[in-house]
């Protein structure tokens, strides 16, 4: 309890270092917070905090009401945004955002309709009726992110809770010029304290400490008055020193505890919230008002009437400056945030976001924009003032040499960018900038390392997969080869290996020729087609050829089943066997065309024969017998040969088309062989028939 006793007595701790820059708070701390008229246009960046941006809920041209949610709370680290006033969404496009880089990001452009019509609200007078989880959800949906500067989503901070020893409310506001929290406390102390009560209810801490610097006597008075009858809350008045408002520094100053490097205050059972965040929480929970406005200190000697203002989120900076009497100087030097930790704005169209607490428009005398850096004289003043107890000078050497290992050894990531070292540096070295660059580089490097690791894993996985595929393919090939071999062997048993090999070779040659011709024909046909038809035609052709290939494949299958039989058939046909066998062969032959052709040939032969016999009969019978018969034979042979040739041609053509689609030449040659056989059979049939007819003729004679 000694910590609390000490605090009650008003004895606090000291943190290392710190500086006392000129405060310049007198510019704004004597005037009330002004409420501004609506600007002509509001620019709402989708992302105003640390984490991910939410999903858009609206589209261009939508009408929105004041307080309407515009993006979704899609992931835990996202924070929704809300319409600051009623109006129409004019555009959703990239625009310069409030970021030191001056880069663009997606923004919503809202044109106010000047009605300022609220969406339906349900105010909640007694938040104790709600469960803590309900309140956290409410806070999350109200889009509240830390308003002190970093913009960490508040609902994340307060929903991770082991037992909390201290809830610290940060009202120190140590940076020069800024008086936003000071004025907020003075004017809205009850609401702010309500916010603290809500946090108390949700987090159940043992003690609540409000840290405030002694240069805000009115605010201290207001706070003390508002917390008079709440025992748990202690208002701790700290001596003014920059950067008392730093999270770790304030914890050290109030409790004497030091947050270890690389850890969060929550590990010590401490949660810190900014006083402005408390106000926003109260507004959200009690009045159902999402975070759509904040107090912004508009200050600097370049302004005629510097003042704190209630600025709607999305108000362009130039509107605020205009309202406060800005006289543009030649080198427009605008700073968002305080003079120590703020950053220069790329232009004055940048909107106010949730973390903007100050707009500084300094005169030339106040802030020099020249870089007068000279060499380090090793005076060591920077190390004296560093609140994180680092060695800024050593860090600087390593940062300039880009020695990332050494930088991390020197705990660069404990640097809070407070700028105290740069402030005291007699050589005017912009130390903080060097650290910021180094930090960004190290983060980038870490990201690249992660990516490289990922790429490596993916590459290895791919290699493995390809290998497996290769093995699988080889196995398949092997199997197929074996199957082929087996079928070849079977055929060889049939005893026609020599002839079939020759036939196969012939067929291959023919198929090649035919395919070449077919390809040529194809080409010709394609070139002849009007260009717009190519697609459909080639598709049709593709479909046709696919269908043909399928047919062929079917045929092949059927034939393969019958190879042995057919091989026999060839032999038998050669040795002039009976018609039965031939018929059987025809049955086996699944090629319809071949059968039709055979039928045609038969019909032709018959008619030809009949004609000849009719012719012959009335003519001389005995002497010319031999002549006619020989003539007949010649004719028949010619016919059959022609038929066979035609058939062959048709088949070759078909083969060619099949081959275009199906590049498995071995299979094709197999088919060719079958075709050859069929042709031979057909020839044999023709011959045999011719002979039979001749016999018949002789008999009729």
């Amino acid at each position: 309890m000694s910590i609390i006793e000490r605090i009650k007595k008003g004895h606090f701790w000291k943190f290392h270092g710190g500086i006392h820059p000129p405060e310049q708070k007198f510019l704004t701390n004597d005037k009330p917070i002004r409420t501004l008229d609506l600007p002509d246009e509001l620019i709402l960046p989708l992302q105003q905090h640390i984490g991910q941006r939410g999903e858009l809920l609206v589209k261009e041209g939508d009408k929105v009401l004041k307080g309407q949610q515009l993006t979704l709370l899609s992931s835990p680290m996202s924070v929704p945004i809300h319409a600051p006033t009623s109006g129409i969404i004019k555009a959703i496009k990239s625009s310069t955002i409030a970021h030191p880089s001056g880069l663009s990001d997606l923004c919503l452009f809202i044109t106010p309709d000047n009605v300022d019509k609220w969406q339906e609200r349900q105010s909640c007078e007694d938040f104790y009726q709600k469960s803590p989880q309900e309140i956290i959800n409410k806070i999350a949906n109200a889009g509240i992110a830390g308003m002190g500067g970093a913009g960490f989503p508040t609902h994340i901070k307060i929903s991770s809770k082991p037992s909390i020893n201290y809830l610290i409310i940060n009202a120190a506001e140590c940076e020069p010029y800024i008086t936003a929290d000071d004025l907020l406390i003075r004017e809205q102390s009850t609401t702010a304290i309500d916010g603290i009560k809500i946090l108390d209810y949700v987090l159940q801490p043992e003690h609540i400490l409000i840290g405030i610097e002694d240069n805000k006597p009115d605010a201290i008075k207001a706070l003390k008055k508002a917390t008079k009858d709440i025992k748990k809350i202690t208002v701790c008045v700290l001596p003014t020193k920059y950067p008392t408002g730093g999270e770790k520094q304030l914890i050290t100053a109030l409790t004497g505890l030091e947050v270890p490097s690389g850890q969060l205050p929550i590990n010590l059972g401490i949660i810190m919230q900014n006083i402005a965040t408390c106000f926003a929480i109260a507004d959200a929970v009690i009045n159902d008002t999402p975070l759509i406005r904040r107090v912004v200190t508009v200050t600097g000697q370049a302004l005629a009437k510097p003042q704190n203002v209630w600025a709607l989120l999305g108000t362009p900076v130039n509107y605020l400056l205009e309202q406060c009497g800005y006289q543009a100087t030649k080198d427009k030097n605008l700073i968002m945030g305080g003079p120590m930790m703020g950053f220069n704005l790329a232009n004055d169209q940048v909107p106010i976001i949730k973390t903007t607490n100050c707009i500084l428009a300094p005169s030339k005398q106040e802030v020099s924009s020249e870089n007068n850096e000279v060499d380090c004289i090793r005076c060591g003043q920077c190390a004296d003032v560093c609140p994180s107890q680092l060695l800024p000078q050593e860090l600087q050497w390593s940062a300039k040499a880009k020695d990332h290992v050494q930088l991390q050894k020197l705990n660069l990531f404990d640097c809070i960018d407070c700028g105290a070292c740069a402030y005291v540096c007699p050589s005017q070295i912009p130390l903080v900038q060097y650290y910021r660059i180094a930090k960004a580089e190290i983060r980038q490097q870490q990201m690249l390392d992660v990516q490289a690791e990922k790429a490596k894993i993916r590459f290895e996985a791919r290699k493995k997969r390809l290998e497996q595929e290769k093995i699988a393919r080889e196995a398949k090939h092997k199997k197929a080869a074996e199957a082929r071999k087996a079928s070849m062997n079977k055929k060889n048993e049939g005893g026609s290996s020599a002839t079939s090999a020759v036939a196969a070779a012939l067929a291959r040659v023919k198929a090649k020729k035919a395919s070449a011709q077919a390809a040529k024909n194809n080409e010709n046909s394609i070139t002849e087609q009007p260009t717009q038809d190519i697609d459909t035609k080639s598709k049709v052709a593709g479909a046709i050829s696919r269908a043909k290939a399928k047919k062929m494949a079917l045929n092949k299958e059927a034939k393969e089943n019958n190879t042995v039989v057919e091989a026999k058939v060839v032999n038998t046909a050669k040795s002039n066997k009976t018609d039965k066998d031939k018929d059987k062969d025809n049955d086996n032959d699944n090629d319809k065309k071949a059968r039709i052709a055979a039928a045609v040939a038969k019909a032709k032969q018959k008619s030809a024969q009949r004609a000849s016999s009719i012719e012959q009969k009335p003519e001389i019978q005995s002497v010319v017998e031999e002549n006619t018969s020989s003539r007949d034979e010649n004719k028949k042979a010619k016919i059959s040969a022609a038929v066979a040739k035609a058939k062959e041609k048709a088949k070759a053509k078909k083969l060619a088309t099949a081959e275009i689609k199906d590049s498995q030449t071995s299979a094709d040659s197999e088919i060719n062989r079958q075709e050859k056989k069929k042709i031979a059979i057909a020839k044999a049939i023709a011959k045999a028939k011719a002979k039979a007819k001749k016999q018949q003729k002789e008999e009729t004679k």
């Binding site: 700073i335 703020g342 020099s368 912009p430 910021r436 960004a440 490596k456 590459f459």
Partner: protein
């Protein structure tokens, strides 16, 4: 006589020491070299093959066995420096055969021109291209290493390398844009 003794004594000593060293060389035999693994960890893992090896790992092995350390174009001077540190050799400038421009890039498929030939998918070493035959392909930007291996196989030249867009996430502080803020 003394000379003979001297020769004999030295000879005996020499052979003794020789035996000792021979024994030590067997006893302290080094198997495998963890160097390749360490080099591999330094390489950017783009698997681009610009070094003449089919991936980062083979190049790492080659470097461990005496290949030049300056052939990794995507890694650039940083990687060369790191490898030099690890190997204890001098830093060399990047091999002249490579482009000097090694700013980070990602591939981008101009989707109107894509005919769906899948050639780029087969070329991608990290499976960062999505698509099927006769369907339009696209690049998974987060997985693309910018190796540009997919550019050459494309029959319609619809793939191009684009520099990574600068966002607030990957933005680097630039010293010159922010002046010192010093108060009187």
């Amino acid at each position: 006589m003394t000379t003979l003794i001297a020769i004999v004594v030295l000879g005996i000593m020499a052979s003794l020491f020789g035996a000792l060293l021979g024994f030590a060389s067997i006893k302290y035999k080094v198997e495998g070299d963890p160097l390749a693994e360490q080099i591999d960890n330094l390489l950017p893992q783009t698997q681009c093959g610009q070094c003449g090896y089919p991936g980062c790992k083979p190049y790492a092995n080659a470097v461990a066995n005496g290949e030049a350390i300056n052939k990794c174009a995507p890694g650039g001077d940083d990687t060369i420096k790191k490898i030099a540190d690890l190997m204890g050799v001098e830093v060399q400038p990047l091999d002249e055969n490579h482009d000097q421009d090694n700013s980070p890039k990602v591939a981008f498929i101009i989707e109107e021109d894509c005919i769906g030939c899948t050639k780029c998918i087969q070329a991608c070493p990290v499976d960062a291209i999505l698509g099927a035959a006769k369907q339009m392909h696209t690049i998974i930007i987060d997985e693309c290493t910018g190796c540009d291996l997919c550019v050459a196989p494309c029959p319609v030249d619809c793939i191009e390398m684009r520099p990574i867009v600068q966002t607030t996430q990957n933005w680097q502080w630039d010293l010159n844009t922010i002046p010192v803020t010093q108060l009187d």
